[in-house]
């Protein structure tokens, strides 16, 4: 056992069974809540290390559960959403959920999300926190102190805003960042809702850091949600 406890909130037995089975096989302890009321009760009484939350619950709105938990805890939350609730997952991320998987998903995808979430919460809890000076993935190096990004040894020459976008994604590498979150972070709250400006910047960044902008290696698009940078090493 690795000692982590995962709370699975899922009302459909088949899916709950398969999720707990693969989590147990990977040495996580699991708790299962079948509805929102149980979820809140378990979250407060067992203080799990991670919560996997299905947004479509019989008794309450999954988004309300996120709101409620976020008032007192930073426990990572991974949202499970069905395709019919596309907008819900964006809202869930903006409310403070850490990541999402869309039904149908495979076990490897779920486990990858769980590992990423644990890594981020571990980083958050250490004293150095998000204070990293360097990020590396593949050929790409992001130097936070010098505010530069390199492919191999070559400075790719990002502009101010482009660097801010790349460093934001690198800081949260492995996690999806929503359009609104990124725009608010770079340009402030007044530009919110205009995704075009972000698209244009991303296109420029892609041409500077990717070999083929049509087949990127570092920054991936998640349609209708946002962008995600591949996992890498921080130092």
């Amino acid at each position: 056992m690795n000692g982590y406890t995962v709370l699975v909130v899922e009302d459909e037995q088949g899916i709950a069974g398969f999720m707990t089975a693969i989590l147990k096989a990977n040495e996580y302890k699991t708790l299962l809540a079948k509805n929102g009321a149980e979820a809140l009760m378990y979250a407060t009484s067992y203080c799990p290390d991670l919560i996997i939350l299905d947004l479509g619950l019989p008794d309450m709105d999954g988004l309300d559960i996120i709101r409620s938990i976020r008032t007192w805890s930073q426990t990572p939350i991974i949202v499970v959403s069905a395709r019919t609730h596309e907008r819900d997952k964006v809202e869930a991320l903006d409310l403070g959920a850490d990541d999402y998987v869309t039904k149908p998903f495979g076990s490897s995808e779920l486990l990858a999300r769980v590992r990423t979430a644990f890594r981020h919460s571990a980083l958050r809890n250490t004293s150095s926190g998000g204070d990293i000076s360097m990020f590396r993935t593949g050929e790409l190096t992001v130097d936070f102190a010098k505010r530069r990004a390199y492919i191999g040894d070559t400075d790719v020459g990002l502009t101010q805003n482009e660097f801010r976008i790349v460093s934001l994604l690198a800081r949260y590498a492995g996690r999806v960042l929503t359009y609104d979150y990124m725009i608010t972070n770079i340009w402030g709250p007044n530009v919110k809702g205009d995704n075009r400006i972000l698209r244009v910047h991303m296109a420029n960044i892609r041409r500077k850091i990717e070999k083929n902008p049509g087949a990127p290696e570092y920054i991936f698009t998640e349609a209708g949600v946002g962008y995600r940078m591949t996992e890498g090493d921080r130092s």
Partner: protein, 343 residues
Amino acid sequence: MALSVAAVALLKFVGQSGIDASDASMVFILGVMLTARFTNGYTCGIAAAILGVLLVNYIFTYPYFRFNFTLDGYPAAIACSLAVSIATSTLTTRIVRTDNIHAEAVAERMRANLLRAVSHDLRTPLTSILGATTAVIENDAALTSEERCALLQGARDDAEWLIRMVENLLSVTRIDPGDDPQLNREPEAAEELVSESVSKFRKRFPGREVEVSVPDNLVLVAADALLVEQVIINLLENAELHAKGATRISLSVRTEEDFAVFEVRDNGCGISRDLLLHIFDGSRTTFGGGYTSSGDSHRNMGIGLSVCHTIVRAHGGTMQAENCAEGGAMVSFTIPLWKEDGE
């Protein structure tokens, strides 16, 4: 209503040019007919008829520009023209309705085709999943671990295929062909649609490389990202599953006037002539697998392609399939470029 106003205006014009009453009544019947043809139903036609009779009375019969229903034999004339014009209106209205019924019948037939194809397509993988899992549960002790694995892998492949099928059907239900389609259009970068589709495709077919090329400048299209990605994924999967002998698949984007053109090519066996004719209407699903009609698998492409076509058309684009001169098949579709309003 605009048309009936036009008809009245025409009558006025005729009146001014001094044509006598009998010609005028012909014109007025024509007006009634046109009104009934291009409006929806009896009401407008009959209204135009009554209006016409009154106008003829007012303008073309003595005393001019005054109503007078007391002329000799006039009630019969009125009744007669009214009857003729109402009959005309009824007839033309009926033509309109027949047209509508015909269009509905076509849509209904397409839906029935799709449903039949879907039910057929769902049954096969479901049967194999049921069979495989039952075999594992009931013969657990007798099976070697490789056998068990093979059975479960088969079940997993079928389940994955079912999921893709259901995703396609979900997309179709979101697009109602008659009304304004429920598209969630945003300015999307064509290269992002392409790269995300390719990475989803690679998850399903890890061994297969796709050659991707996008324009040097950013191309923004007005698209519902998830739906357009689904079109691209469907085309890539068709090339992977049906283009027998294909060693390479390529995907490219270019712009042509107000459209972005997405193109998927392979160097496989090509599409049979027979299939090319009906490739997007979903009616050839019973051909089974393959661009050729060899029918060796239940993974046919008919539904996928007719879904693609529906999605592309809902975006205001077009779709084409052909065989390349140098061998292999090429399927392309267009999506309108994003236009900023008011700029």
